[in-house]
Amino acid sequence: MSLKHKANIVNDEEMRRAIVRISHEIVERNRGVKDVGLIGIRRRGVPLAERIRDHIQSFEGLEVPVGTLDISLYRDDLQMLAAHPLVRPTEIPFAIDDRIIVLVDDVLYTGRTVRAALDAVMDFGRPRVIQLAVLVDRGHRELPIRADYVGKNVPTSRREVVKVKLKETDEHDGVDIEEMADEDPHGRGDISQIGGGAA
């Protein structure tokens, strides 16, 4: 099974605008950023959360705390993985009790990563609200989960793969769509059950 490049659907400038808009929406929806904390889901949710923090700081003058979450320990498919990525630490350097938590990830697909992230966050306390911000929503949900802030809605087929690239992890910014070249022998091209759609 190999992947072939199909299209670039978001360029760097469009990505920047989408993140700026999400940052504004977070401030607007929560009437400021008092009590707001951002938690990026590893891997690409983390630099996205940091960028949102920087944008919010530039127009609100306040620094919103950022934490990072590794959901490996909360997955529902441990034995289905052939290769285990290293379980990295979860670092949430602020109390989440009664706070407005915004989870940040790159792609929303089946919703299973977000389900795991919700369980993980709840183990750290009792937030007042949990909201979800994603750069790309590609549909095909398997759980009743939706995002509060979406950079771009991208209708996809299950045979496609959405790849978010970020300067911090991949040299440049942009979102590409790739397609599985070979026939999938098992009839389910669910690559994104692993790692939230693009990671």
Partner: protein, 320 residues
Amino acid sequence: MTFRRQHLLGLEDLSRNEILHILDTARSFRQVLERPVKKVPSLRGVTVCLAFYEASTRTRLSFELAAKRLSADTMNFSSSGSSVQKGETLLDTIKNIQAMKVDMVVIRHSSSGAAHYLSRNVDAHVINAGDGFHEHPTQGLLDLYTMRDRFGNLDGVRVAIVGDIAHSRVARSNIWGLVKLGAEVTLVGPQTLMPAEIAKTGVKRVTNCLEEALETCQVVNVLRLQLERMTSGYLPSLREYARIFGVDTRRMEKAADKIMVMHPGPMNRGVEIDPAVADGPNSVILDQVTNGVAVRMAVLFLVWGGAPASEMGSEIALHK
């Protein structure tokens, strides 16, 4: 780096990278132990049998806690008070336990090779919790973890292991692990308690001068002197052993300033280690115990996840 082992039987057959992968994973679990909710759902629905054919406090409790912190169910088996006393063989006992649908077996046994034997004959993940004089891999790993916590990288770190090397599975697991991670190992002990095969392990030097080892090493790992050795003629007397190989305050005065003092427990206070040293500022003995839980969580987690993935699973992961 991927970890694909279905069992953990010893450190001898693990690669340097596999050992580092376990230790790095353990670091994440160490943080879980500091959280308000010290439990994660990773092994929900998995049943772990703790089969201890030999006395144990720390290792059994540590494995049990580790399994519970991963949301696994645990069942305990100890040979005393069981059908083992009626003559049931190891394999029969475990096959019966397995018939109760157990997924993982943690075994401690007085025969070297017991864990290997089980891993070949039962359909469950096997973790060696100490087999005879052979290995005690999770003790080795938690010792490595504790040293790495201090030094970061063990390349070139000078470690002395003191005591009854020949009969010590803790020493063997430590030696394999330390040599693979690049540490310089010195073995200290009486000639009668040095194994013949040490030359093969990559140990740097062997000495019977404890003072010299303490002056030059950054870590001293003091082994428990198994008192039953006295009766078999390896040592003249306990008092003589304590005088020549006991880590006491007088010897510590000449030791390197920040030397790290380790002991796998249980201690014979006043024999291989003086109480003032065991409870002193250089001792990390209780840190070892805390780290042991995190290391065993990592081992249970990785060995469980190391199950053969379905074909689909491997394709998924290839394109992660």
